[in-house]
């Protein structure tokens, strides 16, 4: 096999002794997450099968198309064990499509779309409109301190309401919540993995280590 353009070494993760963290690799920007996590010393594995899920201590659900991730997860028998793992307290971090997959309720879903659930929130899918309305901005995240986070929203969702168990971590200037935590679950509407922002992943690895 020739060297392809997509080939990426996760060696930084292979020799590491940090927590074993999976990245759901059904569709989306999972390699970007894997690269950030490996750079932070985690042992990273791409997860497409239930057997691979059983090998990790925490999971990142990447950005992508939530309707596609949902279909593939159900078709290939990953949805049920993942839902069970979330109920069992496995730390999971979802960005954009990943946040949608972690929400208990999804508005503007594709027909028949389901989520894994776990976060006691209502998210609206693609809440800002078409790609013309996608944007990046500086976002204050008190939990991460200074400086603010450079946040890219790409046809992103927003958290329309939170139940009593979920805590907002960040909101836009108009008050719409775009980052949330509930116990071992973390979700952001935006993509730290593509803006060189590593603090959310560090924060998540802390959650994995603390379990």
């Amino acid at each position: 096999m020739t060297t392809t353009l997509r080939e990426e070494s996760l060696d930084a993760g292979a020799g590491a002794t940090g927590p074993r963290v999976g990245v759901l690799a059904l569709q989306g920007d999972f390699r970007e997450h894997a690269r950030v996590l490996a750079g932070l010393g985690a042992r990273v594995a791409l997860v497409r099968r239930a057997a691979e899920l059983a090998e990790v201590d925490g999971l990142v659900i990447p950005g992508g198309e939530s309707s596609v991730i949902d279909k593939l997860a159900r078709t290939f028998g990953l949805a049920e064990p993942l839902i069970a793992a979330i109920r069992d307290g496995m730390p999971v971090y979802g960005t954009c499509a990943g946040l949608i997959m972690l929400a208990d309720t999804v508005l503007d879903a594709s027909p028949g779309q389901r989520s894994f659930g776990g976060l006691d929130i209502v998210v609206r899918r693609n809440a800002f409109g078409s790609q013309n309305q996608s944007f990046e901005t500086e976002l204050a995240v008190p939990e991460l301190g200074e400086p603010p986070v450079r946040a890219a929203f790409i046809r992103g969702p927003v958290v329309e309401s939170l139940g009593p168990r979920a805590t907002p971590l960040a909101a836009l200037a108009d008050g719409r919540v775009v980052a949330v935590r509930q116990g071992a679950l973390l979700g952001t509407s935006f993509h730290p993995e593509i803006t060189g922002e590593h603090r959310f992943h560090e924060y998540f690895l802390g959650m994995v280590g603390a379990r």
Partner: protein
Amino acid sequence: MTVPETGSSRVKRGLAEMLKGGVIMDVVTPEQARIAEDAGAVAVMALERVPADIRAQGGVARMSDPDLIEAIIAEVSIPVMAKARIGHFVEAQVLQALDVDYIDESEVLSPADYVNHIDKWQFTVPFVCGATNLGEALRRINEGAAMIRSKGEAGTGDVSEATKHIRKITSEVNALKSMTRDELYVAAKELQAPYELVLEVAETGKLPVVLFTAGGVATPADAAMMMQLGADGVFVGSGIFKSGNPEQRAAAIVKATTFYDDASVIADVSRGLGEAMVGISVGDLPAPHRLAERGW
């Protein structure tokens, strides 16, 4: 708090990043768009005619009717792309006004300008452009393309040109990786591409934007082969709705794209799909009818 910034390179290239590992399907009606979304398409390309019909019917192929594009946008919840003719910046302005999520400046349509491509930096909406080799890809990126699709030969069902183009781009990138800095100046001259982009490719070992493969993909195995050759995802044009069982074939190609390295999955999804599109061998196409040769 700073003002939110739309249309940045990061946001434009970022949408393509989110499409990775997915299948983008050509659709000509809202009903086909619904089938595509239900089958697991990551985006749809809204068209009046698929490339196989453009090829069969001939004539000048142009941007689709805005009513059709809007009806498809209204039907689906996934991103909608639409094609503008090469160099036709007003078609692109119209598509941006229609709020499409990506514009494909496409050789499948009849070129509107045989010298210049669209200055894509002038738009908020991102562009994907076709390329047959690394130099062409970098020229398009220099003009503002936020995603590249290797061209293949659209509307044929013959994957050989797609294979040729992804292999060509890959081998040219790999060649740059082994060059010294002084050699890269000559490489830039030979590729007819800006030195800064050539240097970036040499240092990172990949294109600065996402690379999908297109043109002639008709089966799950075709899609998986493109993924094994290093594509970030695939476009399927005529291959789905010119086949015997579009719903099942579309879903099968989606699964084969995710499990591209698992032959048992590809075997399973390839069973009982019915007839693939009939297809035309690229070798039988006279040169003037080769779409991949449009664009420079």
